[in-house]
Subunit: 333 residues, 2 copies
């Protein structure tokens, strides 16, 4: 005999949010739970992850209406017909915002909390923490002595990113949107400089906090803060684009906004990199050899606009800028 529940309660969105998200966009629905088949187990969820990026999926159709919402969840196995999962074990999964879920082993990760708070596996030891760790260390490659700016730095991801930066030995600057978050970061998390971006002079404060410029920006918000960070960034600077919460809570679809490309970029693991050839001089011999050969054997075609005399220079510039010149423009003396 078991006390297996016959139904689960799950959270739906019942309409696409128009303007700021409203509680009336949601409803809780009751659904039937099937009997467990061999290989299945029943999970009683203990923690459900609430993540800002879901707001986008509510609006853009990725999250269906009137259906269970996916989200990372941690629960306890309470009944099992799977040999690898015993009652009492903790698992993480993405079935989401519901009280009971049927697990099948795939896409389920066992969690060993030990004596640690289980909440850690939703935050700093969970997916959000991993986003911070990968973004700061693997993507942005923050190094000791560098300056690191983290936006939304009191949030789940940002609060870990900015402290990892401090532990690496970086100069840390954080932005937040309230005085209590500012106090927590300064007093509890040990961040050097914390700026409230809702104050009118936040850009000036940011520039003043980074007198030698910015080496790494860990971006959770996009928009004006991304602009400001890029205006301060140093040569060879790196930006890890993790989120863009500034753009989530709006009725205007991403595709119709200025800066729409940032969303495409964020969701596509794109790398946007500028360069100067002086940093790549070791390639000069290979370049000369390959391209020289290709030019000589006709594999590469080239075109040169030759103009004569110093006096031709002004018009050469004018025509070049106006797009009237094909290939390389040179002046012969």
């Amino acid at each position: 005999m078991t006390s297996t529940p016959r139904t689960a309660r799950e959270v739906h969105i019942v309409r696409r949010p128009a303007g700021p998200l409203s509680a009336a966009d949601f409803a809780v629905a009751e659904t039937a739970l099937p009997d467990l088949a061999p290989g299945e187990f029943l999970i009683a969820n203990r923690l459900l992850s609430i993540d800002p990026v879901r707001r986008v999926f509510f609006a853009n159709g990725t999250a269906p209406l009137n259906a269970g919402l996916h989200s990372f969840s941690i629960g306890e196995v309470v009944e099992s017909r799977h040999p690898g999962y015993a009652p009492g074990e903790l698992v993480g999964h993405y079935q989401g915002l519901r009280d009971f879920a049927v697990g099948r082993g795939d896409e389920t990760r066992k969690i060993t909390a030990g004596g640690d708070p289980l909440e850690w596996h939703m935050g700093p030891l969970g997916v959000g923490g991993f986003f911070a760790y990968v973004g700061l260390i693997e993507v942005a490659r923050a190094r000791p002595g560098e300056s690191v700016l983290v936006s939304s730095a009191a949030g789940s991801v940002g609060s870990l990113a900015v402290q990892l930066a401090r532990l690496i030995g970086c100069r840390t600057v954080a932005t937040v949107g309230s005085a209590d978050k500012q106090a927590w970061l300064t007093d509890v998390a040990g961040v050097e400089t914390v700026i409230d971006y809702k104050q009118a002079d936040w850009r000036e404060r940011l520039a003043a906090a980074l007198p030698d410029g910015l080496d790494v920006y860990f971006d959770n918000v996009g928009g004006a803060q991304l602009d400001a960070a890029l205006s301060l960034i140093n040569p060879q600077g790196r930006v890890a684009v993790c989120g863009m919460v500034s753009a989530y809570d709006s009725a205007t679809p991403f595709s119709e906004r200025a800066g729409a490309w940032t969303w495409r970029m964020m969701t596509s693991q794109v790398e946007l990199k500028s360069y100067h050839v002086r940093d790549h001089q070791h390639l000069w011999p290979a370049f000369q050899r390959s391209v020289g050969d290709w030019l000589r054997n006709g594999a590469i075609q080239t075109e040169t606009q030759v103009r004569d005399g110093l006096d031709a220079i002004p018009q050469a510039f004018v025509d070049l800028i106006a797009g009237r010149s094909l290939g390389k423009t040179v002046v012969r003396l």
Copy 2:
């Protein structure tokens, strides 16, 4: 006895361009040439490089008024008091838009033209070609079978980049601004698809030319074409930012324009990269170990907002999006 000239003629800008560049912004001035000191040599320039990016320096003050303009130049040593440089040798240097220059060996590169046209060392075998080579191969890492888009593809840099892409085995798409450039790229350079961005439907043509999306964008123009490329880019796509000629010929300073950050980025060798943690799973064990230790010994502080029950979920989202929640938000069931 020598026939050493006593004066040189050099090109100046005499006023900052306002609106489209005008020939009246320039003047040619005569300057005295000093007698050669030991270690110096006299260069008679043969080719002067005309590059769109100079337009920016004319406007932003990097190029001083009423002074010799810097630019890459190739000349012949015609007199020498330097043991390493003999008359008749060819050298490249940055003294720029003048007929005669005094060389000192530093910042001067010897050029061996052999039987090749000297112009090649201004174009495909010169600095412009090297920008194309480094950007496509080292920065964007174009690989066989990938789709590569090159803008300003009939220009000095772009015309090499798009042909290098073809030789690597990429599917090549190019944009240009005139029918004759389009014809040259198609008929001479062998580019698969060439689109005239001045036609009204260029965005639709670009999308149609890239039915499987875009893997690499080699960007010479910025602006609307960068936007369009990013709207089509595939996961793991790369963008090499080489130039942004669309923005050069304007009276509005970069700092006052939308997208001003792209200029900062272009001149600072910045890397802007989005990421997903699923591509970095090999780091999970190190992450769990390091962050777990730091949490347990207090090196990292963390904060969790715990809410109870499925019914709390809607407001949890609302508060989180509104910036009212510090740290990780979870719902406890």
